[in-house]
């Protein structure tokens, strides 16, 4: 079942140069879809279109559609606030808000005017458990979030997104600054999360892509070269460019 359908998407920078050219991609629900490729390929730009965060950047949609459950989110009449609650994002560097751990987690719900203490506490616990952080912080929820380690902060950012009860989770190189143990914890959490959520991941290495992908799409210089099931794409890629990149011949 397709959660997100991208049709003939073309992205441009504000000076007119192309960022992404004619992207067609189906993203299925409850799997981990990986968008990978060398730097500058347009993957992050595409990710930011999925929650309309590109509205804040220089990248504009020249043409095309992105359908979330059948509705085009690029339509100007879209309620982007509601969209961003359905489609959450974890960024490359952990950005904890200058508040306590608990307040970080309830921030999204407070934006939506949720005031009931019970609902907020529920969300805090749910997010932390799903992000595999609950045991480590359950006794110090009111400590400043900045006191956590880098890996813990990034899992807090994941928990923060989860507390908002999204349907889709976007992750843009989430483990690029983390040590291998923290990276493993995040990847394990994602495996658990895909049962309930649709996950789209931009990895920071080909190895991470191969480890985590149920479905993978290879981007090169603004073009979607090839997309297939993870195992297929990494062992028997159809395009030579894909094979060259996966084998490490360039990057």
């Amino acid at each position: 079942m397709n959660k997100i359908i991208i049709e003939h998407l073309n992205l441009q920078y504000s000076d007119g140069t192309e960022s992404l050219r004619d992207i067609n991609l189906n993203i299925q629900a409850n799997v981990i879809t990986v968008l990978f490729g060398p730097a500058g390929g347009g993957k992050s730009s595409l990710l930011r279109c999925l929650n309309r965060l590109n509205d804040l950047t220089e990248v504009k949609v020249a043409s095309g559609k992105i359908l979330l459950d059948g509705e085009n989110i690029l339509d100007p009449r879209t309620d982007v606030i509601a969209l961003r609650r359905r489609v959450g994002m974890v960024f490359a560097r952990p950005v904890v808000l200058p508040m306590s751990i608990r307040q970080n987690l309830t921030y999204g719900l407070e934006l939506a005017n949720e005031k009931r203490r019970s609902k907020l506490d529920e969300a805090v616990e749910r997010g932390l458990i799903l992000a595999a952080l609950w045991d480590e912080v359950k006794d110090r929820l009111d400590d400043p979030a900045i006191a956590l380690s880098g890996g813990q902060q990034q899992r807090l950012c994941l928990a923060r997104v989860l507390a908002n009860q999204p349907e889709v989770i976007l992750l843009d190189e989430p483990t690029s600054g983390l040590d291998p143990i923290s990276t493993a914890k995040v990847e394990a959490a994602l495996q658990g999360l895909k049962k309930e959520f649709t996950i789209i991941l931009v990895p920071h290495s080909v190895q991470q892509a191969a480890r985590t992908a149920d479905y993978a799409a290879f981007f090169l210089q603004g073009e979607l070269v090839e997309a297939a099931e993870g195992k297929e794409l990494f062992t028997h890629p159809k395009q030579k460019r894909t094979e060259d990149y996966v084998e490490g011949r360039f990057g």
């Binding site: 606030i81 509601a82 005017n113």
Partner: protein, 298 residues
């Protein structure tokens, strides 16, 4: 819920935007009012009369030349003090003084900048002028010199503060490069660091000049308030009258709508335009150097 939030956002955005434009509105408002009350002076007093050398409003003499020269001589005198002392102190704080000394002295200098000018004028009357009178054997200590000294003292903190920031912003690698090539510290300061901080230092000077031209109370209290032409070199040892002091001293006694009233507003307009010119010059200095930097870096 989405709709009502939209409403709120739109109203708030509109309010914030209006407040953002307020600065422009106020500048235009001030300009307009000065114009409105000052232009009639040009109609009521002949231009030749305005530019003459006699300021004696009681007998309808409105020559503003003595006031212009008064402001000029005091400003020039003040800058002659503020430039060496301001930049010298900035260089000292930034390049020569040890860290701990800088942490104490810089706030001290800024403290002087926070002193109300009326307090400095007060000290000028009670301490500086009598001292000048005795020391230089003058008929009175209330002279342009006293004004220049006080104004120099007022301009120095501003100059030091901004120039020191500019010098501090010069990357350490510049100094290290020069020293590695065999330059002494002194040579480094004059040939490398100061030129690199040039635009910031110039800005500091222009802001110092701006502050000096606009100063009212201190000069009014110590320059003696004699509206005579100050064009000789020795005029610095005589009393003078600045434009600012004239407005402050005479505005209270003027009949609303009289010629005197209009002329005072016109002087205010002149002061407004001068400060406008200085500010535009200062910001174009910064703008030009930024453009040059961008060209070099790109």
């Amino acid at each position: 819920m989405g709709k009502s939030k939209n409403w709120r956002e739109t109203i708030i955005t509109a309010v914030v935007r209006t407040c953002g434009y307020s600065a422009v509105v106020f500048v235009l408002l001030i300009f307009f009012f000065l114009l409105r009350e000052g232009l009639p002076a040009l109609a009521e007093v002949k231009l030749g009369e305005l530019l003459s050398a006699r300021w004696y409003p009681i007998e309808n003499h409105f020559g503003i030349l003595p006031l212009l020269t008064g402001s000029l001589i005091v400003t020039v005198g003040a800058m002659l003090i503020a430039i060496p002392f301001g930049i010298g102190t900035a260089v000292f704080l930034s390049e020569i003084a040890p860290r701990w000394m800088r942490e104490i002295l810089k706030p001290l200098v800024e403290l002087l900048g926070g002193l109300p000018s009326v307090v400095l004028g007060f000290l000028g009357i009670l301490v500086l002028s009598p001292y000048l009178r005795v020391f230089l054997n003058l008929p009175t200590g209330m002279t342009a010199l006293a004004g220049a000294l006080l104004l120099g003292g007022i301009a120095v903190p501003t100059t030091v503060s901004i120039a020191e920031d500019a010098l501090d912003a010069v990357p350490q690698s510049y100094r290290e490069g020069a020293l590695a090539l065999g330059a002494t510290k002194w040579q480094t300061i004059w040939r490398v660091t100061l030129p690199a901080a040039r635009s910031g230092v110039l800005t500091a000077l222009m802001l110092g000049i701006g502050r000096t031209i606009g100063e009212t109370m201190a000069v009014m209290m110590v320059t003696g308030n004699a509206p005579v032409l100050a064009i000789k070199l020795t005029s610095i040892f005589s009393p003078v009258r600045t434009m600012t002091a004239t407005i402050a001293a005479e505005m209270g006694e003027v009949a609303n709508g009289s010629t005197h009233y209009h002329v005072l507003f016109m002087i205010g307009l002149v002061l407004f335009l001068i400060s406008l010119a200085v500010n535009i010059a200062a910001s174009s200095v910064v703008f030009k150097s930024r453009k040059r930097a961008e060209r070099v870096l790109s």
